[in-house]
């Protein structure tokens, strides 16, 4: 279970990107985080695994206070938080297998990873996940030789390799066509169901969010302005989140 309490991030100048966000995500729940550009969706995800250091507030995963950890402790905690990116963020010049195995870097020593000597169990797992995401037989292809949908599948397999308790998913479909977007969202949802993973999914596409998420959280100017079931996302609620067409802001 993930618990964010009073999470605030203030960049050097201007309004805070996140302003006192409280959010609890139980295991197995997929939360879609929607909101206009600049609402703080990406900042929220990056503050959760401290790729961006929050200004105040706390992040707690399964009772462990992430925001209180030293850098060594944080590295161990990050293993439990798989991250999936909009532009996939694969290592372009490495093979699919190396990319998937990189999900285990937090568990293996430097020289073992340098010489690509991962434990046999990790390699077995990697083959298993490649099969699960529909990329069996792709292990020796280079990441830059794949299509967008295939790359995102590699990204998902990499995140699963971490044996995560939580998935942080940042705009997984923004670089994909509509059909591939639906396939990827479905895959993420299925995997969370199979493994009982909590997930926060930043997403621009409200229709996709409504269809695939268990719960929708609306963020506006760094503040949670909506939190409820997809059915509760009425036109009025959408206006609260995105503002009306006629007004700026």
């Amino acid at each position: 279970m993930l618990r964010l309490t009073g999470l605030t991030k203030r960049y050097d100048r201007g309004d805070p990107a996140l302003n006192g966000v409280d959010l609890v995500v139980p295991d197995g729940e997929v939360v879609a985080l929607i909101g206009p550009s600049g609402a703080g969706k990406s900042t929220l995800i990056r503050c959760t695994n401290r790729l961006v250091e929050p200004t105040s507030g706390s992040v707690e995963l399964d009772g462990e206070v992430i925001t209180a950890l030293s850098s060594a402790g944080l590295r161990v905690a990050r293993r439990r938080m798989g991250m999936i990116f909009q532009e996939f963020a694969l290592i372009e010049r490495l093979t699919v297998m190396e990319n998937v195995l990189s999900g285990r870097l937090g568990y293996v020593g430097f020289w073992a990873s340098w010489f690509r000597r991962f434990p046999p169990e990790d390699v077995r797992q990697a083959f298993h996940y490649l099969d699960r995401v529909g990329l069996a037989g792709f292990e020796n292809k280079r990441a830059d030789a794949l299509s967008g949908g295939q790359r995102q599948r590699v990204g998902i397999a990499r995140a699963l390799m971490q044996s995560p308790a939580l998935l942080l998913v940042d705009e997984p479909t923004a670089s994909l066509d509509p059909r591939t977007s639906r396939q990827i969202m479905r895959l993420i949802l299925e995997l969370c169901g199979e493994r009982g993973l909590a997930a926060i999914v930043n997403i621009h596409d409200v229709a996709l969010a409504r269809e695939f998420a268990h719960r929708i959280v609306g963020l506006r100017k760094g503040v949670v302005v909506f939190d409820g079931k997809p059915e509760a996302l009425t036109p009025d609620a959408l206006t609260t989140i995105y503002g009306s067409e006629e007004t700026d802001a």
Partner: protein, 264 residues
């Protein structure tokens, strides 16, 4: 009302005209000065001299070939070992100098940048002059001077490549819980590998040419024979040496082109 648009303001336009005017005057004055200081008899005589020298240079003295095999081999070795030494030293320096991988912004990064600047600003031949007096004449001085000058070249190009990598890839590796060394090994190294290999062979290629003249100051290689032949006015020998150097350079260029094509 007609709307008028100009690319520059009138003032900017006048400033540009004035700039061209001053530039033209400087060139004209400089030309005049050079013409005054030139001994034109020598200049008019140059084509005759060149033709005369060329006449004495051919045919090459092929029988001299066995004597330059060893120095030519030394030259290639000076370039190769010097380049390898430079790569070994410059790689860590580049990681210290790159803004996104340096462990310490002050004072480590400026020190690394300083090493690169000093190494680059002193020519290989000058390094050789210094090193011949320190370690004595011979190949060792040549290898070290090639290495010391190449550190700057290699380090600069590599650290610029490191600064230009895609940060999303390193972020993704950091997010898995990888250590900082692993972030370098997986997030940075694969991205700079093409530059690393490309610059290595390119510098090796340059160093073959540079080490051909190091013998002039006593730092080993074929430059010694070249210098000796020129001072003895043994022009057919000079021709042969130039042909040998040309051959070595051609081979190194061919090899480095092959390597670069293989690693994109």
């Amino acid at each position: 009302m007609t709307q008028v648009w100009r690319r520059r303001t009138t003032k900017a336009q006048w400033a540009i005209w004035a700039g061209w005017m001053i530039g033209t005057l400087i060139v004209a004055q400089g030309w005049h000065f050079i013409a005054e200081a030139t001994l034109w008899d020598f200049v008019w005589d140059a084509p005759t001299q060149a033709a005369d020298m060329l006449g004495r240079m051919v045919p090459p003295r092929w029988s001299y070939a066995p004597a330059i095999v060893k120095p030519l081999w030394d030259t290639v070795n000076i370039a190769t070992l010097g380049t390898l030494l430079a790569i070994l030293m410059a790689t860590p320096i580049a990681f210290l100098a790159a803004r996104n991988t340096t462990p310490q912004a002050i004072p480590l990064r400026p020190v690394a940048l300083g090493v690169i600047a000093v190494s680059r600003s002193i020519n290989t031949l000058i390094w050789a002059l210094l090193l011949v007096t320190i370690v004595g004449p011979g190949m060792l001085a040549g290898i070290l001077s090639v290495a010391l000058h190449s550190i700057g070249f290699f380090g600069k190009l590599l650290y610029e490549a490191i600064e230009e990598i895609d940060p999303a890839q390193t972020e993704a590796i950091a997010a898995t819980g990888a250590s900082q060394a692993q972030v370098l090994a997986y997030g940075v190294v694969p991205q700079v590998m093409p530059t690393f290999a490309g610059v290595s062979v390119y510098r090796w290629d340059i160093n073959i040419r540079e080490s051909a003249v190091l013998g002039i100051v006593g730092a080993g290689g074929i430059g010694l024979q070249l210098n000796a032949s020129v001072s003895q006015l043994a022009w057919p020998q000079v021709t042969l040496i130039l042909i040998a150097i040309l051959g070595a350079v051609a081979v190194s260029e061919w090899l480095s082109a092959k390597v670069r094509a293989a690693i994109v």
